[in-house]
């Protein structure tokens, strides 16, 4: 428990630092008053506006105000859309979440069995083929793969739609496109593109860890105890590979959240990635700062979850043994 509390504290500090960076972005882009008022506004009016916006307060007070506002979900107004930034993120977030979930689940379902299999039968033909394919998966650029998929499945075969997000329905209070066939057919290709890269990385990691663990004494002893292979591979070996694997999965999933930009662009997916591209193009500072904090939050939360999972997996962390 102590371990998790300490991690929670660290996470809070990290988030405060991220918020500081987000806050400082505003300080570097010039006087906000200048961009708010016209040329003929008098100096007195400008000063009054400055005062009313709190820009004359000490910088720490301004930072604290920014943090308090952010905690309440208030990141200001987007310059280019003239809308609440948090509202815009709330609009886009579900689309990204469902894409990440779909690709994450797909890659785990494929990577874990394939990783175990290639770890056990590393010389077999099937295993060698899987390994060769995983290299392709890791090295092929996502935009190229996306365009190829569109060419094959949308243009030639005309099976799947080539862009956009499909029908959205609400099931049990969750709005998502994954509950309809139309929505699923739209999500399938972008999810596959995102999945392929992660699949390669996670599969290779599980395989390498399996090879390592299968050489250990406790696995040899498990054979000597007369346990059947299945039990040794799935119960004894797999669990011992999980700590590094969970770390990698946590980082992979969070980077999907933050940086699925190219894939979203290729498939015209209305998610966070396209929002970020727009914000960069328009120098939309409130939007960029909010995005920065959002990415920080995703990474921090996923690291916290990873830490919690460590504790579940490994009793030595729980008991603070070395």
């Amino acid at each position: 428990m102590y371990f998790l509390l300490a991690r929670l504290l660290q996470a809070t500090v990290v988030m405060l630092c991220v918020a500081l960076v987000g806050f400082l972005v505003f300080q570097f882009v010039g006087d906000p008053v200048l961009s708010l008022v016209g040329q003929e506004t008098s100096v007195e009016d400008r000063e009054a506006l400055r005062e009313s916006l709190g820009l004359n307060d000490p910088i720490l007070v301004q930072y604290a105000r920014y943090v308090v506002n952010a905690l309440q979900g208030d990141f200001g107004i987007s310059y280019s859309f003239n809308r609440d930034v948090s509202e815009m993120i709330a609009d886009r977030l579900p689309a990204t979440i469902e894409l990440v979930m779909l690709s994450g689940v797909l890659s785990l379902i494929l990577a874990i069995p394939a990783g175990i299999y290639t770890g056990i039968r590393r010389k077999g033909g099937v295993a060698q083929t899987i390994m060769a394919l995983s290299v392709i998966g890791v090295s092929i650029p996502s935009f190229l793969l996306g365009i190829l998929l569109i060419l094959v499945f949308s243009v030639w075969l005309n099976w799947l739609p080539s862009f956009g997000r499909g029908d959205v329905v609400t099931v049990l209070g969750v709005r998502s496109s994954l509950f309809t066939w139309d929505g699923l057919s739209h999500a399938l290709m972008p999810a596959a593109v995102l999945c392929l890269f992660q699949l390669g990385v996670i599969l290779r990691l599980i395989r390498a860890e399996m090879l390592e663990v299968l050489r250990t004494d406790y696995i040899r002893f498990a054979w000597a105890r007369g346990l059947p292979g299945q039990r040794i591979y799935f119960r004894h070996a797999l669990k011992n590979t999980l700590v590094p694997v969970v770390t990698a999965i946590g980082l992979q999933l969070s980077s999907l959240f933050a940086f699925s930009i190219i894939t979203e662009r290729v498939f015209q997916w209305p998610g966070m990635g396209s929002l970020l591209l727009h914000a960069i193009g328009q120098s939309d500072i409130p939007l960029l700062a909010a995005y920065l904090i959002f990415v920080g939050l995703v990474f921090t939360i996923s690291n916290l979850v990873v830490d919690a999972v460590y504790v579940l997996i490994d009793p030595r962390i729980r008991h603070g043994a070395h």
Binding site: Y218, A224, R225, G226, L227, R316
Partner: protein, 557 residues
């Protein structure tokens, strides 16, 4: 005479390799009966573990049995399919490994692992298996077994873990138990208890036991009969007492002779110096006429290590690893430091050489003053030139990516002890001084055996012309015959060069061979520190007496 339980006949084990097959075992015959412990002894590479693995059907890839038979009560195990062999493991043959720290799955509770084995091997439902598991843990001498079922392996001490391992290996009540170095990783006092446990299980259940070990002392105290192996061949066999006291083969005689005795200090470890060539003059250069006082003195020395906090707001506790009022080593003296694992002997050794800083107290060198004052770069450099260390593991203490001559030349160059053009010649002479050919410098560490590597480590330590040498378990990773050579070399160097030495070891017999004085440590304290002969012949402290009594003796009692 009871019937033979397991017999190997003309057993041949081969490891195919693209440069030609390597035969690990050629034509080995062995018999094991119920209720007896058969010892299988040999040095590393003798093929003794390979035989155990072959009987178990767990030869490491790509090894295979290439001839002969292994019979278990008349059934040839070599003809069995993998599936049939798998059914024998645990049920008919059990096995325990050397290191109890790594033989248990760290992520499963001890109870779960044992219940898993029992449920599987005996076709019992989990609830009954758990009950039986608690009984079994109790049976191998784990106190409070029922509540310790829910604990993880890391919560057990080494000896307790090996008991758990034994319970696991016995879960299916096998007929044959193969124990591969079951006590090598344990302290002597614990070693005896574990061996006694194996002995009693063997008798109670009329179990056949194959005890694989490199340690003649373990064999002498435990085995009924012994097979001596070398290079995959049987050298000699017979009842244990006969093989140990009247060995017929030269190899067995040498093996037994090489074992240092705990009973006396032997002359062959201190044969007179033969060659004091040019290199010895170089090694002795730059040392002033030395006084005869103490070289290094520790006073009121303590070392605390932080332990983990118990709660979020709690303070981190400390664990006092070393707490001694004082200890000094005279110039030219060898001080032996013995103790069990966790006694703080290595930490104390490291503090005496400045590798670890004490929490309180002081270490003072005659030539350099108090360690705490050695602050400037130049003084630190001078101290480190005079104080050198030889570590336990010669495999990890040499940089595998550096050639041996570079390893030896680096410290000479760093301390500017010789002209650049002289260094290659000096390195060659150093290698010859420790018993290696000068040409060995062109090779990399992995091309040498363990003993040769330890010689390289010694040469490296000598290359800066040290005055004080810390030897931290320098022979523990080596075979006995090589260990004897290593001790002789260290003793000879010490005499020729007048080295002061701190010799840290868990092996009481080895320490007796080399030390002038011996300090016995227990839980961070020195319980007894006297002249070596006096301490061994008439120990005054109870703990020293216990250590001496439990140490296995190759010669029997």
């Amino acid at each position: 005479m009871t019937e033979i339980l397991c017999r190997t006949k003309d057993l041949k084990i081969t490891f195919p390799h693209r440069l030609g097959d390597f035969t690990a075992v050629h034509g080995f015959d062995m018999e094991v009966r119920r209720g007896e412990i058969v010892g299988l002894i040999g040095e590393s590479g003798a093929g003794k573990s390979t035989i155990g693995n072959a009987i178990m059907g767990l030869l490491s890839h790509p090894g295979k049995v290439s001839g002969g038979r292994i019979d278990l009560e008349g059934e040839n195990l070599i003809d069995l399919s993998d599936a049939a062999m798998a059914r024998l493991r645990g049920r008919r043959i059990g096995m325990i490994f050397q290191d109890p720290m790594t033989s248990l799955n760290p992520l499963m509770t001890v109870g779960d692992q044992l219940a898993e084995s029992i449920a599987l091997l005996r076709d019992l439902p989990m609830s009954e298996a758990r009950k039986m598991a608690a009984d079994r843990l109790d049976g191998v001498g784990i106190p409070d077994a029922a509540s310790r079922m829910g604990q993880y392996p890391h919560e057990f001490s080494g000896g307790m873990r090996q008991r758990v391992v034994i319970a696991l290996a016995m879960a299916g009540d096998p007929d044959l138990l193969i124990a591969d170095e079951p006590t090598t990783a344990l302290d002597v006092s614990v070693q005896k208890q574990v061996l006694d446990l194996i002995r009693s299980i063997c008798v109670e259940r009329s179990l056949g036991v194959i005890l694989v070990t490199h340690d003649m002392g373990v064999i002498a105290e435990t085995a009924d009969r012994v097979y001596v192996m070398r290079h995959g061949k049987l050298v000699e066999t017979g009842p244990t007492a006969q093989v140990i006291h009247t060995p017929t083969e030269q190899y067995t005689q040498d093996l037994i002779a090489a074992i240092p005795s705990i009973e006396r200090r032997e002359d062959r470890f201190r044969n007179p110096a033969q060659k004091t060539g040019e290199i010895d003059q170089w090694l002795l250069q730059g040392h002033k006429d030395e006084s005869s006082g103490d070289y290094v003195t520790a006073s009121a020395l303590t070392k605390d290590f932080a332990t983990r906090k118990k709660s979020f707001w709690g303070k981190a506790g400390t664990f006092r690893a070393v707490d001694i009022p004082g200890l000094s080593i005279k110039r030219g003296e060898v001080l032996g430091l013995v103790g069990e694992s966790g006694s703080g002997k290595s930490t104390l050794g490291r503090m005496m050489t400045g590798l670890v800083l004490p929490t309180s107290g002081n270490v003072r060198y005659d030539d350099h003053g108090p360690l705490a004052d050695v602050r400037s770069r130049a003084r630190r450099k001078a101290l480190r030139r005079d104080v050198q260390v030889v570590f336990q593991d010669p495999y990890s203490s040499l940089n595998g990516r550096m050639r041996v001559d570079h390893i030896l030349a680096e410290p000479i160059r760093f301390h500017g002890l010789a002209a650049r053009s002289d260094i290659p010649r000096l390195v060659g002479a150093l290698l010859e001084r420790v018993g290696l050919p000068a040409a060995a410098g062109r090779k990399f560490p992995h091309q040498f055996s363990g003993g040769q590597r330890q010689r390289i480590c010694i040469a490296r330590a000598l290359s800066v012309r040290p005055r004080f040498l810390l030897c931290d378990e320098p022979t523990s990773a080596l075979d006995v015959s090589i260990q004897a050579d290593m001790l002789a070399l260290l003793m000879e160097l010490r005499r020729s060069l007048g080295l002061t030495m701190l010799f840290v070891s868990h092996d009481l017999a080895v320490v007796r061979q080399v030390s002038d004085r011996v300090a016995v440590m227990k839980q961070g304290k020195i319980v007894e520190c006297r002249e070596a002969e006096a301490l061994y012949d008439s120990p005054e402290n109870d703990y020293t007496r216990m250590l001496l009594a439990t140490a296995p003796r190759a010669t029997g009692h």
